[in-house]
Symmetry: C3
């Protein structure tokens, strides 16, 4: 029996998530349900797209992912089920799937048409659960919807590259639990444009010339611990999902602040990368690797 | 093996919920536990009553619902187990069950009396888990308690109706994750009093003459999307649980605000419905359906 | 198949927890995963130590506890697996285990050395999950690490006792969901020093001469409910984990305030106990038991 995952903006307090689980277990008592997140910002499509893209890949093939964000049925917000990378996704056709579909071609998309059989003011409970249980029992997408070719895109999903390929202009798509700022610039895309050139990442007035592979790369472990002052330093990493991320070492949004709050970086803000033909002189590289601003 | 659900005010951070699950799985390794909510406001009986009423109904018959809110045993706060609608509820006798019991007569209520067999400064762990596991193994309520007839009521649970039945005076019982404001006026009750008359819902200085069946009913899909300004509009719906709810279309309490914050509506505030003998003229209805205030 | 528990600072929103569960179920579909907490304050070792110590004990012997707090591998932050009290713990060697190991001698500690076999910028997913699944399948610690003797301590973990044993100086190690203030003074330790003497607990300018065994012990149930004013009273209890805790009766951090906010008590603040040779006169005891300040 496949796993059903849940990604919603229902929050941790309301009864919605419990009700959905009760409904699934009423149909399929032996199935496993896994929460991915219920704390997506209300109606935030980009956040939901980022979360599901990073989470689904760890699940077994055949898993069924319910995404309950902005899912009320109306003439401009149809319900879809998508088969992609041997996983199933059930959501509204509001752009959530466009990030994933831009990287991996979907095998099949159907517009769900079982609404005449269910009345609903709570479509995740009444429609998505029914579709998920149908798929979990081995049912095909054709039975619950009619095939469509395209899904609704999210605007500004992919970063922009200028004509002479000297600049990538990306944007902030997610702020994580540590207040770190995630952009839409992914490592393979970056490397395709970079072609080994030096570069400078710019976010507001902050500039960085190194992208680390993990956070503690900025620490010089040859210096005794009590003489170091690494906490609070700014850095850029490709995070575990491969996204370019502007971070603060050991940040805490509640107490000392975070990359988002201290650097003033919010969702949709621009982060750019400029590629430089001439290499930097060595002492500058040294400065940068200790992550001082060099403005 | 039945499902055990958990509804508490323990929050998401502390070890309490994990400890309870460990204790249940230690007794019954194959049982399934489902979280309904752990974010009930501390000691808030009304919130807990609203959450459990809306969630339990989705679970299979025979499910066992532990409610850990204000559950410390003392002379005025006994522990009870209730069988109702073929579900079991374990909680303190502090009013949590009175909302449910006012709609559906309980089949059996017992006051739990196994406390001489367990010492406890954490009654949900030490008492409720034992009772839940006893029921899950097929045990009867008589073994763990003595039958009682009545449970403690919550005051102001049901809305008030005036003598000539021209007005319902309800109150706010819950603010949901979107900041929408849920009242204690349920649809069947409303319709019994309404008898087809026109009406006006009043909350503070805001007035509404239409109750929608879903949120996007306020959108006019004949107008091009870029010319509409529906987000942030006020509306009234019967929510998925059947409760009259004052909402803001696509609200976000953190960013743009919500029905609760923007309209100044809080728990226990009054929401009234006045019934009107004479019908409205058509153009007024038109105005209202676009949800402009018409004060 | 044993249980795997998760205790992290990943928060409730990000995809990290979902990804970890997906990875575990991909390896071991029939295993059970239980969340203990994902809301540890970022990088807060003491909070994580307190949570895991209080939660693990409810789980069956053989359970495997993954602790994902400050777990990025670097020369000063190795990964360890510990067998203790017939439970397994997988975490970074950053002090998290020192609270538990100070009470119960670990049976075995290994420094994990499978990192050459896994690449990782997300060690909980890439390393801890692999180790946990190895143990869950019955594998031994020697296969995934080399034995070490000692773990990194947390400073200021245990309270200080003065030379003539008239004073315990403890500190605040946790603030719970109700805003109650938990110290590192445990009941058996307290009683060993107390030896039956009267005492006075001091926290900032607040003083207490009684430690209760449950919160509602401060209520005089002989007084009619409407004439009592117990909510908001300060008290000291040994909490369900046996830790000395300064609380406010029926507090709510969001609305009326809590012990932490109203008394200005924060993490790392000092709480002391002074032992008094001469007993108090009876009428003073009476005053104290009603929990008035007697400054």
């Amino acid at each position: 029996m496949p796993i059903i995952t849940l990604t919603t903006d229902f929050g941790e307090k309301d009864h919605f998530v419990g009700a959905i689980k009760g409904a699934i277990y009423s149909e399929l008592p032996d199935l496993r349900i896994v929460d991915i997140s219920h704390s997506i910002s209300p109606f935030n499509i980009s956040e939901a797209a980022y979360i599901i893209q990073n989470a689904y890949i760890s699940f077994p093939k055949g898993s069924i992912h319910i995404i309950g964000v902005d899912s009320e049925l109306n003439p401009e917000n149809k319900h879809i089920a998508v088969k992609l990378d041997d996983h199933y996704f059930i959501c509204a056709n509001n752009g959530i799937m466009s990030m994933l579909c831009s990287e991996i071609a979907p095998e099949k998309i159907v517009e769900i048409n079982i609404h005449d059989r269910v009345t609903s003011s709570f479509p995740v409970l009444d429609v998505f659960v029914k579709v998920a249980c149908h798929i979990a029992r081995g049912g095909t997408l054709e039975v619950i919807g009619k095939a469509i070719e395209n899904i609704k895109p999210i605007r500004n999903l992919v970063p922009y590259v200028n004509d002479d390929r000297t600049q990538i202009i990306g944007s902030v798509i997610y702020i994580d639990n540590y207040g770190n700022v995630v952009t839409n610039i992914k490592k393979p895309f970056f490397e395709t444009i970079q072609k080994g050139r030096e570069f400078e990442v710019s976010a507001r007035s902050y500039k960085f010339k190194v992208i680390h592979s993990k956070y503690s790369d900025i620490v010089n472990f040859d210096i005794p611990e009590e003489k170091r002052h690494d906490e609070g330093k700014r850095l850029v990493v490709f995070n575990s999902g491969g996204f370019l991320e502007i971070a603060i070492y050991k940040s805490n949004p509640i107490t000392v602040g975070s990359a988002s709050t201290l650097m003033g970086l919010n969702l949709m803000d621009t982060v750019s990368v400029n590629f430089i033909a001439t290499p930097l002189v060595p002492e500058n590289i040294e400065n940068i690797s200790t992550l001082q601003d060099y403005k």
